[in-house]
């Protein structure tokens, strides 16, 4: 059976069954396997406190991966994540230095700065038709340049305002960290956008074949640009949360989020060619990556080993289910 007939069939099934994508099932199976292996290593691995802590750490990656997923669904990629995260964090902290108004606007200001980067990406990709990989690499370099000039090459001295700390580490509902709630809210909005709005359906359509989407009367360029703006804003929001968590922004704080964000999306079964994937898969991918990181750090694996295991896991999992069809 060819892939397209599969799609047509599965789209008529009830939602739960449709979501039972082999990739998502594999990802969840790997999560259970990791939890099992972890519990063999240390008995505190399955305690609610530890799991909640993991969920909190995962939520930073989750917010960033949400934006990445939107872009990957279009068949593009956003390599400007590292410095968009740093820009969001640094600009949020910087705004807080300008009196009470600045403190009040710190979070939105950080996000808006990220959206500006996303806007440049979006214009480059959608209107100038430059490959996304290249534009986003270039805007990443420009964002880095701007931040180096702004900070003088050192980590900025401003510390994160209370609003950012509250978002990242506070508790509105007792027992559940705010960061987790934020991720849940953003995730819910994204699921709504992707499955219930014409914007979301257009995103899938463009990811499958932009020409066809264009001929169906979708303003594909506007949709692509909007998606990049959202992705930029979410990356910056991730940066704001991270700065709140660490109570300050630092150089290269975003570097360790590019590969995990892409990996989480792709391991969750979203096709890197675009047009296919579910948010549930991304959630699974984010938790999987976070647990993997956590286990490696519990085992006191040095950075070198972590990088190698990371790369190997991603390649192996992709070889299991991320292959493109052969030439015939």
């Amino acid at each position: 059976m060819s892939d397209t007939t599969m799609d047509r069939l599965t789209s008529r099934m009830p939602k739960l069954l449709r979501r039972a994508d082999p990739a998502v099932v594999t990802a969840f199976a790997c999560i259970i396997l990791l939890l099992f292996l972890g519990s063999l290593y240390s008995s505190s691995f399955l305690s609610p406190a530890y799991l909640l802590q993991q969920l909190k750490v995962a939520s930073f990656l989750g917010v960033i991966a949400t934006g990445m997923m939107l872009v990957i669904l279009l068949g593009h990629i956003d390599l400007s994540v590292p410095w968009t995260v740093a820009v969001g964090a640094m600009m949020g902290c910087a705004a807080a230095a300008y009196g009470p108004v600045g403190v009040a606007l710190a979070v939105p200001f950080g996000i808006v700065c990220g959206m500006m980067i996303g806007l440049v990406n979006g214009i480059g990709v959608a209107y100038l038709r430059i490959p996304a990989m290249i534009v986003t690499l270039a805007t990443n370099a420009v964002a880095q340049g701007l931040m180096v000039v702004y900070t003088g090459g050192f980590s900025p001295q401003d510390s994160a305002p209370d609003s950012m700390r509250y978002l990242a580490t506070g508790f509105t509902i007792p027992g559940i960290p705010n960061a987790v709630i934020i991720w849940a809210v953003i995730g819910a909005i994204m699921v709504f956008l992707l499955t219930r709005t014409s914007f979301g359906r257009s995103v899938y359509g463009i990811g499958n074949r932009e020409r066809a989407a264009y001929l169906s009367g979708i303003d594909t360029r506007r949709i692509v640009m909007t998606a990049f703006v959202i992705a930029g804003g979410l990356s910056a929001f991730g940066g704001v949360l991270l700065a709140g968590y660490a109570s300050k922004a630092s150089q290269s704080m975003g570097d360790e989020y590019l590969l995990p964000a892409i990996a989480a999306v792709v391991l969750g079964g979203t096709s890197i060619l675009g047009g296919r994937g579910s948010y549930l898969g991304t959630v699974a991918g984010v938790i999987l990556i976070t647990l993997l990181q956590s286990i490696l750090s519990v085992m006191q694996m040095p950075e070198a080993g972590r990088q190698i295991i990371y790369g190997v896991v991603i390649v192996v999992m992709l070889l299991l289910y991320g292959r493109t069809p052969a030439n015939r």
């Binding site: 990989m133 290249i134 270039a138 370099a141 264009y214 570097d255 292959r323 493109t324």
Partner: protein
């Protein structure tokens, strides 16, 4: 159209990058406090050659319509490896050089094998393998250090006859011995063809798989050549994440400036070399004009963004709007 006009149309990107480089280099040397001396040329060429090798590597992969985001990491890994192996007597050094180049070839071959036989997307594959290579580099050199055969290093980074930079001669030799034969061989033509239209090339029975595999492997070897030269300049090995990322980024910038199409099938490594030299010179312009070095990353980023935006001018020639959505 006559023969030479076809040739001109084909070489337009290369010639344009040569032109950009010459203009930039004239601005650079005429404002340099020391003027155009052999030492200025030597320093400039030593810095440029590093990027030129990595840019050549990137070109080979880009020609097949792929991308290698791990070139910078192979560059860093081979730098670390060379700081262990390229030492001692003449024979030991020679074995070390071969081992370093072989490691680069192996890294490239792994990328190629996963992309071609594993049928994964080059972007994701090379990001992931880049992490592996960087991890290996960290294992080799947790802290910067090591050494290199200084006689060889000084010979290859010095001047021949007191005028010609030796690194430039090595670059020329690599172009003549590796790039020219490859681009004219069946495999090289097949690599071009796979980038320009994979389906047509497949239908014509070209050796696509072998060609792509050769391109990736050769790319790894060339990146290792760059890593080797980095060791010759610095005398040490260092697993620096920032440097790996920067070289990957700059290699793409050089390829774009050098007139190589990112959609594959068009351009030449010679163009990419001039692109690399031009990009380096542009980055160094700030120093001769006495700007704060803090501005350099921003300046390079803006140059890169402008360079990639230039490609958008092709849109004005598109007659059918549907061609926007290739």
């Amino acid at each position: 159209m006559t023969e030479w006009r076809y040739w001109l149309a084909e070489q337009r990107g290369t010639l344009l990058s040569l032109g950009i480089f010459i203009v930039m280099f004239i601005i650079y040397t005429s404002n340099h406090p020391a003027g155009l001396t052999a030492n200025v040329v030597q320093t400039a060429s030593n810095k440029g050659v590093l990027l030129a090798f990595v840019a050549m590597a990137q070109t080979l992969v880009v020609l097949t319509a792929g991308i290698d985001l791990s070139v910078g990491m192979i560059f860093v890994l081979t730098n670390c490896l060379a700081s262990w192996l390229v030492v001692g007597t003449g024979i030991e050094t020679a074995v070390g050089v071969v081992a370093v180049l072989g490691t680069g070839a192996l890294c490239g071959a792994l990328n190629g094998a996963i992309v071609i036989f594993g049928r994964l997307q080059p972007i994701v594959t090379t990001i992931a393998t880049g992490a592996i290579y960087f991890g290996l580099a960290l294992l080799l050199r947790p802290f910067p250090g090591g050494s290199v055969n200084e006689h060889l290093a000084d010979a290859l980074t010095g001047k021949l006859f007191g005028v010609v930079p030796a690194s430039l001669v090595v670059l020329l030799a690599v172009v003549l011995l590796v790039w020219v034969p490859f681009s004219r061989s069946v495999l090289g033509r097949a690599a071009y063809a796979s980038g320009s239209s994979e389906i047509a090339a497949y239908m014509s029975g070209m050796p696509l798989l072998r060609a792509k595999f050769a391109a990736y492997t050769l790319a790894g070897t060339l990146a290792a050549m760059g890593g080797l030269f980095l060791t010759f300049f610095t005398y040490t090995g260092e697993a620096a994440l920032a440097s790996g990322n920067a070289y990957t980024l700059f290699s793409i910038a050089a390829v774009v400036l050098g007139g190589v199409s990112l959609y594959g099938g068009r351009g030449s490594a010679i163009g990419a070399i001039f692109g690399a030299l031009a990009f380096r010179t542009i980055g160094d312009l700030l120093f001769v004009f006495d700007f704060d070095p803090l501005w350099q990353p921003l300046f390079q980023g803006v140059v890169l963004l402008l360079a990639v935006s230039l490609g958008a001018f092709g849109l004005f020639r598109v007659r059918n709007r549907l061609d926007w959505f290739q």
